[in-house]
């Protein structure tokens, strides 16, 4: 493995282009789903919503190197705000989405301010608690959330008189939104703000010694990731037309983490690649029946062994700049960079 990576001459070019293969395939698949329609569409829609969620997670975990197990809380806030406002109060989807985002930002500030002083495991535990608390609220606050029964009849996304009612329209709309989200993540990574995040994930002391207010930047990254999560949550309830507490349960966090690591933590296209692979993989091996879970698990392990930086980092070589972060966060400790 090491030797193969260290080759420089003709394989360099090949290797560099290898990095784009997963991203190009992912985009091609979305294009195919738009054209072909049918069963693929809903699958791809979910993948795209998750791509937005994971893009936010990537800014907090991949760039800033912090661990959050509570991102589902922000998705729930976005999702439930949209659901309640559009069904009970006749608010249009777009303003409802914005209100949901604002609510998630407020929650992120309230929660992030005290907890981001915690490090490593403590931060992870604190964020996990937030996810559980919001889940409990969605279950118990029955007058608003309707408890386990959930809220149905949520209208599809639309602006003014235009409504993205058909599957295909929704998929196109989602594709545009994913492109915007990934584009803004890229802009962030290239900026002074993004560099400061990657810097503090590398060494908090060095970042502080260079004048970076580490606590403030962590909080900012947490807020940005909450915005992405809230947008994803809101989109989800509009696409499905229904929301219940289980939708934003802990499984959302686990799926998000899996997508982030399989796709490539710290990379730009990783969240999209990861979201599509993790959404499609179970469908592709459905025919294997009782062996399905086994093959799914084995596939994940193989990906993480042969693409330790994630699929989007396959073509990454040591001399390239948009490489995944390798330091901090115990979660990443086990990964080796050959």
């Amino acid at each position: 493995m090491k030797n193969w990576r260290d080759f420089t001459s003709p394989s360099t070019c090949l290797r560099a282009s290898l990095g784009y293969v997963p991203a190009v395939l992912a985009i091609a698949l979305v294009g195919y789903a738009i054209i072909a329609g049918g069963f693929f569409v809903s699958l791809t829609s979910f993948a795209l919503i998750y791509a937005i969620f994971v893009t936010g997670l990537n800014i907090f975990m991949g760039y800033a190197g912090q661990a959050s197990f509570g991102q589902n809380a922000f998705a729930a806030i976005g999702g439930y705000t949209s659901a309640v406002l559009t069904t009970a109060y006749n608010v249009a989807p777009v303003p409802a989405l914005f209100i949901g985002v604002v609510a998630a930002v407020l929650c992120a500030v309230l929660v992030g301010y005290p907890t981001l002083r915690l490090k490593g495991h403590y931060l992870a535990m604190a964020t996990l608690a937030i996810g559980l608390i919001v889940y409990e609220i969605t279950v118990e606050w029955q007058s608003v959330t309707n408890g386990y029964m959930g809220i149905s009849g949520i209208p599809p996304l639309g602006i003014g008189s235009f409504e993205a009612a058909t599957d295909r329209e929704q998929l196109i709309l989602l594709s545009v939104l994913v492109a915007l989200c990934m584009g803004s993540a890229w802009l962030i990574r290239q900026s002074r703000f993004g560099r400061a995040l990657v810097a503090l994930s590398g060494s908090e002391d060095a970042a502080r010694a260079l004048g970076i207010d580490v606590a403030r930047y962590k909080l900012a990254a947490f807020i940005v990731s909450a915005v992405y999560a809230a947008v994803a949550g809101s989109l989800f309830v509009h696409i499905v037309g229904f929301v219940s507490p289980e939708v934003f349960g802990l499984n959302m966090v686990i799926l998000g983490f899996t997508m982030l690591y399989v796709g490539g933590i710290g990379t730009i296209t990783g969240p999209l690649v990861g979201a599509i692979v993790i959404n499609l993989l179970p469908e592709m091996i459905r025919g294997l029946k009782e062996y399905q879970d086994l093959v799914y698990g084995a596939a994940l392990i193989l990906i993480l062994i042969y693409a330790p930086g994630g699929l989007a980092a396959l073509g990454w070589s040591k001399r390239r700049s948009t490489s995944p972060a390798t330091t901090t966060v115990e979660l990443r400790g086990a990964r080796t960079q050959s």
Binding site: I188, V198, A206, A207, A209, G211, D213, V224, R319
Partner: protein
Amino acid sequence: MNRLRVENLTRRFDGLVAIDDVSFTVPIEGVTAVIGPNGAGKTTLFNMISGFLPPSEGRIFFEDESVTGVAPERIAGRGLVRTFQLVQLFQSLTVLENVKVGRHVCTRAGLVAALTRPTWARREENETERRARELIDFVGLSEQSDARASVLPYGQQRLLEIARALAAEPKLLLLDEPAAGLNHDETDRLSRIIRRIGEHGTTVLLIEHDMKLVMNTADRLVVLNFGRKIAEGTPDEVQTNPEVIDAYLGGVEMLHG
């Protein structure tokens, strides 16, 4: 006016007194070095000056303003920037990006500017790039500018850390054992670089073990032993000070210098 003034600085760790009533000043011009045997309290002193460790007693003045108990990032914002004894690079960033991070206190683009990219922010980013490349050139790492910091050999990592600190345009640069782990040639090169930094209007305060580097580079020395200041002066004065020779085990280390 002095660049830095330390008054009766004391730091205790439980029963241990790491720094004991130390006072000295660092003038604006030239290179000042803090020397002393292992465990003399040099790094503790640096950690207090740079704000990473609050002093138990005493005060620190940067350009006649108290920075005692001020957070490291604020001290850096005022123009006092440090490096670390164990190099602390941003390993997953490239050489160029590391130095760009150093420009943080001299720039102001935030999240909104990152997303909307107004003209001033693009201009600022271009300037950041230009200054970063200049500094990489200054320390002789131009060919490595797109390499990840983690792949550099140790000596180059040291130089990169210095370039990154210089990017902040510090008035006072604190170097914590910059020659540790460097070979002969690298130390010579470092010595020249430090001299040039001092000549370009940046005050340099360094901690050093390597006597050759200190004697070639520093204009003034402050000598610590067991947390106390035992001598202060030019390299020649200090070298002949009996207490200093005694502290260095009969001057063995000094003679090697």
